[in-house]
């Protein structure tokens, strides 16, 4: 069916609304839909607005399903309706692998170097000591920036490496040297 993505969006909203109303909210909101105060007044509880909102999402999703299903059948190219392709999914897999890989380097490079080079000292004790505090950011940031530029250009270029390094040092200058009360990744998590 040509409009399956249009109907699918509505189905997704309906399923989400059903799960939220019957599984998620009852187990994850402590307040009720309506509550009685000590003075005996009936007032909306913490579940009041989320339930109204989710019911609205459900209603709109139903309209989306029905209107897509009943829409006039005209000749439209099968891929004319916006949709996600296998190519999009492969790209997202590549992108998020790169992102998570870079984050892993950011969080492990500093502790690893400290473990290899410093006896009896943990990374936590050195999160404000150069060069250790910059290692993760430089390593992870470079891998992320350089990889994505390489993907975009289709080849490795010295220019991409130099621009990546320049940006990383600019960010260190702004966020670590110019501003004193904030921390670069990953140091706030140690």
């Amino acid at each position: 069916m040509k409009r399956r993505w249009e109907i699918g969006i509505g189905m997704f909203g309906l399923i989400f609304a059903a799960i939220a109303l019957f599984l998620w909210f009852p187990n994850d909101i402590q307040g009720d839909f309506m509550e009685t105060t000590r003075l005996g007044r009936v007032e909306p509880g913490d579940a009041f607005f989320p339930i109204l909102l989710t019911a609205f999402i459900g209603l709109m999703s139903l309209i989306q399903c029905v209107s897509s299903f009943l829409a006039p059948h005209e000749e439209v190219k099968p891929d004319a309706y916006p949709h996600i392709t296998l190519r999009n999914l492969l790209f997202m897999a590549l992108l998020f692998t790169t992102l998570l890989g870079s984050l892993a380097i950011t969080f492990t490079l500093g502790p690893l170097v400290v473990w290899l080079t410093q006896d009896g000292i943990t990374y936590r004790q050195l999160i404000d000591t150069p060069p250790f505090k910059y290692l993760g950011f430089i390593g992870g940031g470079f891998v992320l920036c350089f990889s994505l530029m390489t993907f975009s250009e289709g080849r490795m270029r010295l220019r991409s490496a130099l621009v990546s390094v320049a940006l990383i040092f600019l960010l260190i200058l702004v966020f670590d040297i110019f501003l004193s009360n904030i921390q670069l990744p990953p140091n706030a998590d140690f």
Partner: protein, 540 residues
């Protein structure tokens, strides 16, 4: 009238002088810096004003703090960024046929042909003159209309009316932004739900956290908005670059043969600029419609009026003037719903609201324009609506920004051609690293990074499914306000389930919302195949 004048004078003086009377340069200096950086950002392909505002916000808060004194310097910089980037957006469109934003696409239609004829600098001068004129005119509309609208709202609307008005604004936004009102409303509903994660009004503990303790304080707002707006776009840009890398076009360098813009030519362009600025101001005052439609309508209206429409698209100066005046005049008018209602109409306004929420006691909304009698009370001090003084201070900063754009802006955009040569393959990666670093610094850890990546994924999916992002973002911003209004109105009605239908105005707003949604759904059904054909051909 004397009272109004008194507040205006205090607002203007508050920008330049401290309470003790000594001169302060910081707010105006920050506007100046914002303008220059904004033009640089706007001139760089792949960067835009809202992105720069989002990245600048944590840096500004970290530098100036969150006291009341920090408000004007921070807002000054953000306003400068907004104005400068609007002006700078014309540079890559005119010189290299690479519109950084959808509205700048209209500028390429006549701007780039002018460059090919050797009139690139002249086109930039026309863009500057038209853009700054449009911006200034719409700011004047803002100064007059925002207080008027706020006074009316403050005196007429009660709790249910205000709740119904927000519902009407969101319905309108979902109906006009994007191709499908139902998908827009579903996205808006999801945006609201996301804003409710963690928070609870009754003190029963955090709600809807999915068992994740870090969500107890809710999703970090700036990270969430940056994810949807910036990372979603970055992901799309990288994917498109990977797909189209063999097609990377290079602009042909053209020798400038005619760069002079005479007074007479400027005078001849004025009627075009006034008409387009009028269109842009009206469009901008309505939340959600945005600059692209303003630029398109301004351009088409001018083409229709022209005695020689065949010149349009081949390097007509009126084409550049019409689009630039129209899209620039949206930015000031877009602040009318922000200042009078606290409802953001576009992405730049979202970041102004975030700044105001994070810094000082000032908040946007109808209460700002309450003209309280100024009185001296012995032993207490001056009784005054200090928010109104700040509002006039903000207007002063905007006018100073226009002054900078009129004088300095012309020379800056003429020297920005070099930035337009930055390869488009580089900016998405750079933007991604800057964004991740900024959210980590702003939110103090991984919660910001996971939020920005998660919402970036949602932003990517919504873009690929052609669902407008604006209802999601605005829903996210307005949800806490709407929940408080709905709950309070319900309590005040004594638990009446029809509490939203008790006031005639609220009934009108709710009925209008229903009419807008029903009409949009019917139009959507009638025009879907044609619209899809059109968008498909455009993509091809």
């Amino acid at each position: 009238m004397e009272l109004v004048f008194d507040y205006i004078v205090r607002g203007v003086l508050g920008v330049f002088f401290e309470e003790g009377g000594s001169f302060i340069w910081l707010p105006v200096f920050m506007v100046f810096c914002g303008i220059v950086l904004g033009i640089v950002v706007g001139s760089t392909p792949g960067l835009n004003g809202p992105f720069a505002m989002a990245i600048a916000l944590p840096i500004l808060i970290s530098t100036f703090g969150t006291s009341n004194d920090a408000l004007l310097p921070i807002l000054g910089f953000l306003i400068g960024l907004m104005k400068g980037s609007t002006l700078g957006g014309a540079v890559p469109a005119i010189l290299f046929n690479t519109p950084g934003t959808p509205d700048a696409y209209m500028t390429t239609l006549d701007g780039y042909p002018m460059t090919r004829k050797g009139q690139g600098k002249k086109a930039l001068k026309i863009a500057h003159f038209s853009s700054v004129s449009g911006d200034t005119l719409s700011d004047i509309a803002l100064f007059v209309l925002a207080p008027t609208a706020a006074l009316m709202i403050e005196s007429i609307l009660g709790l249910p009316d205000k709740a119904a008005l927000i519902i009407l604004s969101l319905s309108f936004m979902a109906a006009v932004a994007g191709n499908s009102v139902t998908k827009g409303l579903i996205a808006g509903g999801f945006g609201m739900l996301l804003a409710l994660l963690g928070s609870a009004l009754s003190g029963d503990g955090p709600r809807m956290t999915l068992g994740i303790p870090a969500l107890g304080n809710g999703l970090p707002m700036t990270s969430a908005i940056l994810g949807v707006l910036v990372l979603g776009e970055v992901f799309i840009a990288i994917e498109n670059l990977m797909r189209d890398r063999h097609q990377s076009a290079r602009a042909v360098k053209q020798k400038s043969v005619d760069s002079r813009l005479s007074w007479r030519e400027m005078k001849d362009l004025l009627p075009t600029i006034f008409r387009s600025a009028g269109i842009g101001t009206v469009i901008g005052a309505l939340p959600g419609i945005g600059t692209t439609l303003a630029a398109t309508l301004g351009y088409e209206a001018e083409k229709k009026r022209s005695s020689s429409p065949e010149r349009f698209g081949k390097g007509a100066p009126e084409g550049v003037a019409a689009t630039e005046a129209a899209n620039s005049s949206v930015s000031g008018a877009n602040l009318i719903p922000v200042m009078s209602l606290g409802i953001p109409g576009n992405f730049a306004a979202v970041f102004l609201i975030l700044a105001v929420e994070a810094v000082g006691d000032f908040t946007f909304g109808p209460q700002v324009f309450r003209f309280t009698e100024i009185r001296e009370l012995e032993g207490y001090g001056t009784v005054i609506n200090s928010e109104l003084v700040i509002a006039f201070g903000i207007f002063t900063l905007m006018m100073f920004g226009n002054l900078c754009n009129w004088t300095l802006g012309r020379y800056v955009i003429l020297s920005m051609g070099i930035l337009s040569r930055i390869p488009a393959t580089m900016t998405p990666a750079l933007v991604l690293l800057i964004t991740l670093t900024a959210v980590y610094a702003q939110d103090g850890g991984l919660i910001g990074v996971w939020t920005v990546l998660g919402l970036g994924l949602i932003g990517y999916v919504l873009r690929r499914l052609d669902i407008s992002l604006l209802p999601l973002v605005i829903g996210f911003i307005l949800a806490p306000q709407l929940e408080a209004l709905v709950r309070n109105a319900f309590s005040a009605s004594g638990g009446d389930p029809f509490f939203l239908l008790k006031s005639p105005l609220a009934v009108i707003f709710i009925l209008l919302s229903v009419v807008i949604i029903v009409r949009a759904i019917r139009n959507q059904q009638a025009s879907a195949p044609a619209a899809l054909h059109a968008s498909h051909h455009q993509k091809e």
